[in-house]
Symmetry: D3
Amino acid sequence: MKKLLDHKVGEPVDLFLFIKQSTKGVTQQGSPFMSLVLQDKSGDLEAKLWDTGEEQERLYPAAAIVRVGGEVHEYRGKNQLRIKSIRPAKADEGITMSDLVPSAEKSKEELMEELMQFFFEMKNPQIQRITRHLIKKHQEAFTMYPAATRNHHDYVSGLLDHVVSMLKLSKAVSDLYPTLNKDLLYSGVILHDIGKVIELSGPVAAHYTVEGNLLGHISIMVTEISKAADELDISGEEVMLLQHMVLSHHGKEEWGSPKRPMLPEAEMLHYIDNIDAKMNMLNRAMSKTEPGEFSERIFPLENRSFYKPTFE
Amino acid sequence: MKKLLDHKVGEPVDLFLFIKQSTKGVTQQGSPFMSLVLQDKSGDLEAKLWDTGEEQERLYPAAAIVRVGGEVHEYRGKNQLRIKSIRPAKADEGITMSDLVPSAEKSKEELMEELMQFFFEMKNPQIQRITRHLIKKHQEAFTMYPAATRNHHDYVSGLLDHVVSMLKLSKAVSDLYPTLNKDLLYSGVILHDIGKVIELSGPVAAHYTVEGNLLGHISIMVTEISKAADELDISGEEVMLLQHMVLSHHGKEEWGSPKRPMLPEAEMLHYIDNIDAKMNMLNRAMSKTEPGEFSERIFPLENRSFYKPTFE
Amino acid sequence: MKKLLDHKVGEPVDLFLFIKQSTKGVTQQGSPFMSLVLQDKSGDLEAKLWDTGEEQERLYPAAAIVRVGGEVHEYRGKNQLRIKSIRPAKADEGITMSDLVPSAEKSKEELMEELMQFFFEMKNPQIQRITRHLIKKHQEAFTMYPAATRNHHDYVSGLLDHVVSMLKLSKAVSDLYPTLNKDLLYSGVILHDIGKVIELSGPVAAHYTVEGNLLGHISIMVTEISKAADELDISGEEVMLLQHMVLSHHGKEEWGSPKRPMLPEAEMLHYIDNIDAKMNMLNRAMSKTEPGEFSERIFPLENRSFYKPTFE
Amino acid sequence: MKKLLDHKVGEPVDLFLFIKQSTKGVTQQGSPFMSLVLQDKSGDLEAKLWDTGEEQERLYPAAAIVRVGGEVHEYRGKNQLRIKSIRPAKADEGITMSDLVPSAEKSKEELMEELMQFFFEMKNPQIQRITRHLIKKHQEAFTMYPAATRNHHDYVSGLLDHVVSMLKLSKAVSDLYPTLNKDLLYSGVILHDIGKVIELSGPVAAHYTVEGNLLGHISIMVTEISKAADELDISGEEVMLLQHMVLSHHGKEEWGSPKRPMLPEAEMLHYIDNIDAKMNMLNRAMSKTEPGEFSERIFPLENRSFYKPTFE
Amino acid sequence: MKKLLDHKVGEPVDLFLFIKQSTKGVTQQGSPFMSLVLQDKSGDLEAKLWDTGEEQERLYPAAAIVRVGGEVHEYRGKNQLRIKSIRPAKADEGITMSDLVPSAEKSKEELMEELMQFFFEMKNPQIQRITRHLIKKHQEAFTMYPAATRNHHDYVSGLLDHVVSMLKLSKAVSDLYPTLNKDLLYSGVILHDIGKVIELSGPVAAHYTVEGNLLGHISIMVTEISKAADELDISGEEVMLLQHMVLSHHGKEEWGSPKRPMLPEAEMLHYIDNIDAKMNMLNRAMSKTEPGEFSERIFPLENRSFYKPTFE
Amino acid sequence: MKKLLDHKVGEPVDLFLFIKQSTKGVTQQGSPFMSLVLQDKSGDLEAKLWDTGEEQERLYPAAAIVRVGGEVHEYRGKNQLRIKSIRPAKADEGITMSDLVPSAEKSKEELMEELMQFFFEMKNPQIQRITRHLIKKHQEAFTMYPAATRNHHDYVSGLLDHVVSMLKLSKAVSDLYPTLNKDLLYSGVILHDIGKVIELSGPVAAHYTVEGNLLGHISIMVTEISKAADELDISGEEVMLLQHMVLSHHGKEEWGSPKRPMLPEAEMLHYIDNIDAKMNMLNRAMSKTEPGEFSERIFPLENRSFYKPTFE
């Protein structure tokens, strides 16, 4: 069955959709409206409900499931959904959030299994114990959260998907550059963004928590590593080096890392994080682009458009 | 008695001095030499020992006390000491490090007493308990360390001196802007740089520790606050806000704060820290400048020179 | 009685208001409208009058007083006023501009009296004479003008209010750092922005004059100090140093100061100006923020939001 | 006769030279020396006098004339003069400063005559009167000073030479772009740097005065224009526009102009000033470069080297 | 007869116009509309057609000629055209594109004749042959294309107009600075932007081609010069230097020149290109500005407004 | 046998060495000396020859082989060689350049064979033909040149070594991100720096050619691709895309790429080039660092030092 993003401009839509975001607004002229972000597994579109009132606000909050009729149209170079009819899904229609919310292609169980394989290549017991401890402590959220609220891996289990992809890339570069310490690199990859499970509010419709705003996932995680070491009664340089891996993974002070990488593995973690995030965005943008055309602009890639060749 | 910095260019010097820094070097032509930073309470000067060998290296390490004869001369706009004679101080000459190393004008006991007065204006018990706990935990070092290895408050008890001066400024601005929360501001002032006791190697001849380099005093302290709260069994927003105060006190990401200030008190902490550090540098530079002249260039003030008026 | 900014979103409004700004516009579809900024002492809100014609333009120019019925609503994260009825105030309703235009909490007479007290701490007669001369020359405007057209101290007597607050802060820092020359610092504070009385068009509804645009308040004031010295037949370093205080008070070339501060007092003037302006903005923003929430974004504070703690 | 810069590396030198700069120094090893900048009309070279004492300091101050024997050698990519013999010139040898100090190719009288011709193309009496008044007031210095202490037009009458060259360029662009107002442009060119006669200490061996450091030639000149208008009893927009021409001629705040150009003529003044200064530097550098070689690096041209083609 | 830009706000319009750009859009509420840029020789205005459908899209594509009735109105500080009636021009009305599309004031034949005169001042046969060859190869487009899609010389024959104006400026500066090599400078001026005939899609309604986006006119032209030299069997330094002239004419890497100018002529080419482009924009903006007013903001001049004096 | 870089500070050296660079200099005091860069396969050290004359200049030019006795010492944090004896190698000592000049670990034949394997994974005949043509055209130099004059892969066959390493990384990322086009990516990797064979002067002791300075390897190669396509009679998008791959591989305009990457493969090429260069530098620096120490500062990694953990 045709999903939301499979519809071209002008095509009629009749689908169950998940309300990812719901915001009240008022037009310049003063009429109230609601701005919804509606999604199914194919992705999301913005939509407006005009002349809304208390009833609409009650019926269509974030995280509700609705049945929507309408049409795709284009507004300022981006597709939107024009709503012609909307109603809450009924209990007996049997649609659940997991039918609609996009998630990693593989299940979180598969991804976790892939992840756990990488421990077999690690040797340092301290690093392994801290890493396993922190995975376990946050397992529920770690396997469900997105890696970001938008731009890349912004879907259920996106964080885990991103981590597993980065681990594969880590293995490739460790093979090419054998001086890299796999314990540090793999553990750094696994831990680098776990702080997001505290920084963000949840696996879907995520926003920044107060703690996320005031401390940020990097500082949160540095403290978490310290706590883990205390609980496991581990001391030694490994603790500090893991903290540094997490601390420096944004690469520069102006990107939120209070220290720049000072370990070859930390430098490589920054590169790998960057490549995997950028490839995720590029893949998404290019999949929507026709041969001989330029993609939509990708903001985190300095707002560039990318060209799709006419040959294979 | 005339101290080191009281000597003008060309004046002979005959003093007991403390070796603040001792580095081996080799001239362009290949002869070994030693580069010393010699100090007494008036400040420090660089000096060279030429054609040195193993004996000199053994006799003149950092932290040794020596008797030096020589002359002040100027090299590239900065004064240096030309050594004509040097020998280790003898035990029976009775000179100790504390006779030579510059320190805050007030004793650490006086400064601590001044500091403790500020607790009387604080109301929030959680904030007070965490702050007192951390002062106590690091008291020995907190009362002895400099605030920085150079530029400002770089003397014994310099950190405590800086903190007390900032507390006085905090009180003045809190009186002028009564919406500021004194608990947060005072505690932020007290805690903001305690991480330096781990970042730096000691109260004199300080260099950066490995942990200081890889984590930095800001992240070290954020974790310390978390540990203090755990040990005191304190939870609640206060912990996170104190962490944020410390985290953001450099003001900008590019200056090492992973988050910019998001509390009015955090913004003010950044201003006060800046003003007190800059005034310390300005006072030092202007005290060496004659009326009608420009001071030496002050690097952290964008390398500016400051003018001393000819009138009072 | 409830003032304009005391109304929450959705609440009906029925008030006399002052038209701070009145601009004609045309919608995307080509219909004429008017964009008004309406204010009373509590602050101002934007409002639109739709489908306007010549009559409306005649009735509702800037500086008119009107009676408005309507409702507060939110548009793109900022509150606006939806006008349902509007008419000019009638003469016999007895409402005057001074009833509606926000001004400093203290009267200009009180503020001037506070300001004059600071002369008692000054010693240098040349500096005092020039300063008094310029206050007197521009007294009418100096006591009425805002310090800026928006952001901080943007109300009647805002400039004087800002200056008096800065003088108090100057006194506090002069006490803490006694090397600062009070004559230079106090006079610098008093004179630094007087050029605004030429840069801006008036005490209310102020815009930039041509001279303000082409020369700016800094260069205008540097010339004014020179003229004052000529008229008072004062020569000597004091004139040049006061010019430098004004010239450098924005702190950096890119912020409009053709020279950076080269006097400790000039450096401090820059800090004090900055702190007082920022605290004014922070106070305003935090007063509208609920505990546990973030404030609106404050553009001149790098567009940051500030958090209001849940505890006192 | 061969002048100083006509000597190649390795060639012996025996010349009367003018001491442009004389600075005492001390070597790393503590021996005193003097660093001289020696010049004749062909340009200048640095030279060292080793193991100097009071006698040398007395004999070889700045502005002395000396007879030097030695050799040109190259040090770190720049030519220097190695002094083998030096003595003060004797009165009866009849060498005067004007024999040795480089100056504009044309005499100041010729240059002034060329300059005065441009008034015939001007129409606005106010602009002409202010401009003539300021030329007259500072005529002595205006015709003698360099345009800068180094880099471009740094010779006697360099300022006037620069102005006349810029006037010719102004005429060319005014002919091409006839909308430009010649009164504003010519007057702006003439006045733009006159403030340098107060900013700098004199026509030779110039350094920055205290007033030059604290106020700068731009602000000095803005005040001068205001005074001229007062003395001539001229009011009207012309005064402000001339002030703006001078104020904005550095083009950007970060280059010392508190306002960017807001008149087409001010924009053009900035371009013309830039072109004439850069061409002066390029001509000097290329004249010392062989075909097929790159010039020395030119610091104000972003430290670039320029290539001299092998063909004419 | 009154042309499009001769109409003031509020004035009725009834004109034949050329559709420079035609874009489909959808309002926030979901209604389709078309956004047209309509022009005649006086310039262009934006206009909207509301509630459009397939017929309108067929009738009003880019490059169509239409008869439009409507009115000029102002929207956000820029004039627009409100369309009240529109229909395609009829064949028998005899209006052609060249009646409506703005072009250089002189004919392309006149401009080419002016351009060819400059060859008489050139001496180097290799440079001349390459330059003539490339003019001839691209003559059709070179004489018709604009110099840019907007901002400056964005009209038919705009590129040629820009080049001829630059040549005149080149002659003026070559006369003032006779060390400049006219062969290199004139040829650089002529060739510098010919790559635009491949970078852009055509002389009117131009957009960037794929090759223009991926390679840019600078790299395209560098290759063209190499091909020309091959075809003419010319080798020698001249080829490389012409490539460098083109390569470096944007002046800085961040402006798209992979190398900064390293020939005095290349430096001058950059200045001349800049001046001529900026004067073209300034003239256009000032011609629409009343005395005593500021112009509209000019984006490529750092968004500045320029003031038009009240006197001549 | 112990090689040059195997010697610690203080250890005596007696080795045949290759003169990589030979520069004449003069000390501050005017004595001539020579500055040599001496190397064997382990790397290079700087050394000085004091009080040199014509004979020394004749005996010790760049590319000579010498026998040197001396000692390693440290100068400003970098090791140098103090020469105690030096003489030219004798013919009958049988030492050749290839015994001394560092080169890739594998032979150029092995490396070329590895490279050629990657063609088996490519499918597009046009891309393959252009790539093979250009390898063949420049094969001699391509297999011998370094990838840079310093910093990374600055040894014989360094360019080829770098390319092969990048190809392996390309394969790994292509496997992980299968949307990447291997033809474009592999060919881009192979061609991206071939222009260096024209930009640099030779495989050893390389400096920039005039063409290298004025055009740069990027623009040189873009033209080379165009010529190859002409010679092979290939047209079509592939040519332009290969040009874009080369053109954009520095990633940003300010780093010398006139266009930023606009193909996913071009983006990846930039990442891979960066990673392989940085890992080469990191490996070299870390190999000289003891556990528990920081490496020397690495300039192209923003002058950072990297830490070597104390555990394996």
